[in-house]
Amino acid sequence: MVVRHVILRSLSKMLIPLIMLFALYVQFHGDYGPGGGFQAGVIFGAGIILYSLIFGLPKAKMVFRPRVLQYLMAFGVFLYGSVGLAAILKGGNFLDYSHLAHDPVHGQHLGILLVELGVGITVASVMATIFFLFTERRRREDV
């Protein structure tokens, strides 16, 4: 695994940063073009999965710790809900972003940005976690 696949390894070393950069672009450019938190999260998760396919599960787990991923996937939903509660505290309805800033349109921009970030974080860490669990299961059964 480590010695073989030289071409795959060196190619994915170049590709994985680009995939993750593209995921961030999709995440923060969702207001202007196609895409958004869900697609960005899936692409980022695919980057993590590619890393673990090429460099092996133990190394991938050292970079993306399963424990941290578990916190992150709850944090995404938490961030989404917090934006909704913040809108209530500012005097609006749940998830009514217009009240988040003095200018309603600015409030909408801020709310959408944070909410999409929450979706992206949750989706990316959920995809990586599910793949890790499947792969780990096979390793345990092989023993």
């Binding site: 999709v26 969702g30 207001d31 202007y32 073009g33 196609p34 895409g35 958004g36 938190g37 869900f38 697609q39 899936v42 692409i43 998760g45 695919a46 999965i49 578990q70 996937m73 709850a74 995404g76 939903v77 989404y80 809900g81 909704g84 749940f94 998830l95 972003y97 217009s98 309603p104 349109v105 909408q108 921009h109 709310g111 959408i112 909410v115 999409e116 929450g118 979706v119 949750t122 989706v123 860490s125 959920v126 995809m127 976690t129 599910i130 793949f131 669990l133 499947f134 792969t135 780990e136 299961r137 096979r138 345990r140 059964e141």
Partner: protein
């Protein structure tokens, strides 16, 4: 011209669907399902639904193919032959009737691209006219998904989290083969 592209893509989709049914090798079936998703994404792009196409390409062709392959590595990559012909015939009849009912249901639907379709007269004009002032971002799909339909997206995110928790709970138990060995070695103690 666009009609020719539509017809070609739909013919490809149907051909791949038939191929997936006929294949016994599940590995090839999963790869074909990925190609099916990619073709659907192309079809959505031709129909100007870029956001849907993007999601289909990323989720259908990307992640779900990977997860199916991971599942195959846990189970078997070969489909078991059908149990008996009679059961297969019942299945075929049920599928044919359901398919015919679905096609009958589409007869009442407005034609593709019909400007008089109800969906273009209910909420869509309001979103198109008011979202530039109310939300102020160029991509209306994002303003609908994240702001007007914020509750739905909140629910979807929670569903994804719940899916991950479900998989974690399922896989928390040791594999079945291992558990049987444990039971053999420690017959007195209960297993979790």
């Amino acid at each position: 011209m666009i009609d020719i592209i539509h017809v070609i893509l739909f013919v490809f989709l149907a051909a791949i669907g038939v191929a997936i049914i006929r294949l016994r090798d599940l590995f090839a079936a999963v790869m074909l399902a990925g190609i099916f998703s990619l073709l659907s994404a192309t079809l959505f792009t031709v129909m100007d639904a870029v956001d849907v196409a993007f999601t289909e390409a990323a989720v259908g062709a990307g992640i779900s193919t990977l997860l199916m392959l991971a599942t195959l590595s846990l189970t078997s990559s070969e489909e078991k032959p059908a149990v008996n012909r009679r059961q297969a015939m019942i299945g075929l009849v049920v599928v044919t009737i359901t398919g015919a009912a679905l096609i009958y249901g589409t007869l009442d639907m407005p034609r593709y691209g019909d400007p008089d379709a109800p969906i273009h007269h209910h909420m869509a004009p309001r979103f198109i006219e008011d979202s530039p002032e109310e939300i102020g971002i160029p991509n209306e799909v994002t303003s609908i998904l994240a702001s007007y339909r914020g509750y739905d997206t909140w629910g979807e995110t929670t569903v994804i989290l719940a899916a991950a928790i479900g998989v974690m709970l399922l896989f928390a138990a040791p594999p079945v083969s291992r558990r049987r060995e444990d039971e053999l070695f420690t017959p007195g103690e209960g297993t979790g």
